[in-house]
């Protein structure tokens, strides 16, 4: 019989406590290329209700000082919730979905 060396099992003190991930680092991952349709903002129909912002699952509606200013196309997945929720002005929506061009 050859010598079999059994490695000593690591004790709990030798194991890493946990994995650490950098906060908010997912922003470096661009999910914008998932999109088949993109939302387009029409400022003249916008009443700044911010419903698009509050219902966006991807934090992709850019709001500065309480005003909607456009979309973050690097992360927007093109679900279209913003366009559905947009009440618009006098029935004219301030967000419409357009097909992505190649």
């Amino acid at each position: 019989m050859a010598d079999i060396k059994v490695e000593k099992k690591k004790g709990w003190k030798d194991l890493p406590a946990c994995d650490y991930l950098e906060a908010g680092s997912a922003a470096a991952f661009e999910t914008g290329d998932w999109r088949s349709e993109k939302p387009v903002w029409i400022p003249e129909n916008c009443i700044q209700c911010l419903f698009c912002w509050v219902y966006c699952p991807d934090s992709s509606v850019i709001v500065k000082d309480g005003q909607m200013t456009g979309f973050d196309y690097k992360h927007c997945k093109g679900c279209g919730i913003c366009a559905t929720e947009c009440p618009g002005k006098k029935g004219n929506k301030a967000i419409k979905m357009e097909a992505e061009k190649k």
Binding site: D19, A27, F51, Y55, D72, H75, C79
Partner: protein, 313 residues
């Protein structure tokens, strides 16, 4: 409570670039809960599930706050442990900040797998908020039925064919189970009512004790609908009284949203492929049973609200 303009000026605690589906309701719930909580330092514990997996794909994290994941079944226990440690540190003067604790769990991690750790954490009266994003099945692993899956719904483990017609049992009413824990705040709400959800989160976080909010979350993958209609479907669940919006504060019931006219349940069922088979004439009996359950629950809820008002509980 804070309006949208005020909320928009708070720091965004969930970044874009997470890998939830386009139009995912869980992303909406997580963002709205975090924007309501962002006025104070907040620690988040997350049960295994869509939200946990998609927001923290190694080596990325979408969370811009302290966030912790250990396992499927013990998110509430992890959070209660962190809260207990925080209390000890505060008592000995090592921490002086006012920190809030929130746990996120899906319906699988809350209704089924994490149920006993949640029950334990609530019974031990930890000051923490548990938010269940309830999409009514195990969506992350391939749409298996959970105890939150409603009667008649398709799931990969409650299939639809010649013999089986989707899930054969009614869902568990976890909100009522949490009320039975006699905790100071229990709420039920749905995606599509941002004001109701953010108000409930703020109320819960101000409560000194364990709190629970059950949020119905349309899942575009498991429910089968156009992703743009996530919030529309949440509102339809409330307008048909399939998922009433109410809160129980110190045992007192209050219905927060009363639909002007109660829509028939078929309005809700017909938009989702998981219920598609129910619209066939031979399955009319199942639809009638769903409608009967809704009517009974709605009548019960109104009675509870009336009793609470009369008794001034």
């Amino acid at each position: 409570m804070a309006n949208l303009k005020e909320l928009s000026k708070r720091p965004e605690l969930l970044s874009g670039g997470h890998r939830l589906c386009a139009g995912c309701g869980a992303g909406i719930i997580a963002r709205q809960v975090m924007m309501a909580a962002a006025d104070k330092p907040v620690v988040v514990a997350n049960a295994t599930g869509c939200l946990e997996v998609s927001t923290t794909i190694y080596p990325f994290s979408a969370w811009k706050t302290s966030w912790f994941h250990s396992a499927f079944e013990n998110a509430a226990a992890s959070c209660s442990g962190m809260e207990a440690a925080y209390k000890a540190l505060k008592r000995t003067g090592k921490v002086d900040k006012d920190i809030r604790f929130i746990t996120f769990g899906g319906d699988g991690g809350t209704y089924d797998i994490g149920f006993q750790s949640l029950s334990g954490a609530m019974e031990r009266r930890h000051r923490m908020l548990y938010v269940c994003y309830n999409n009514e099945a195990y969506m992350n692993t391939g749409i298996q039925r959970s105890s939150a899956t409603p009667l008649g719904a398709y799931a990969s483990t409650s299939p639809v064919g010649k013999v089986k017609k989707g899930k054969e049992q009614i869902k568990k009413d976890l909100t009522k189970v949490m009320v039975a824990h006699n905790i100071p705040y229990v709420g039920q709400t749905a995606v599509g009512y941002w004001n109701d959800l953010t108000t409930k989160v703020q109320k819960a976080l101000e409560t000194d004790g364990p709190t629970f909010i059950n949020v119905l979350q349309p899942c575009r993958l498991g429910w089968g609908y156009n992703p743009a209609d996530t919030a529309v479907l949440g509102r339809l669940a409330v307008e048909t009284c399939f998922w009433p919006i109410y809160e129980v504060v110190d045992g007192k019931y209050k219905i927060n949203v009363k639909p002007k006219e109660k829509k028939p349940i078929t309005e809700y069922l017909k938009l989702q492929t998981r219920f598609k088979h129910l619209l066939r004439p031979e399955n009319a009996g199942i639809v009638a049973e769903i409608q009967k359950n809704i009517d009974e629950n709605w009548a019960w809820l109104q009675m509870m609200e009336e009793c609470s008002n009369k008794a001034g509980v």
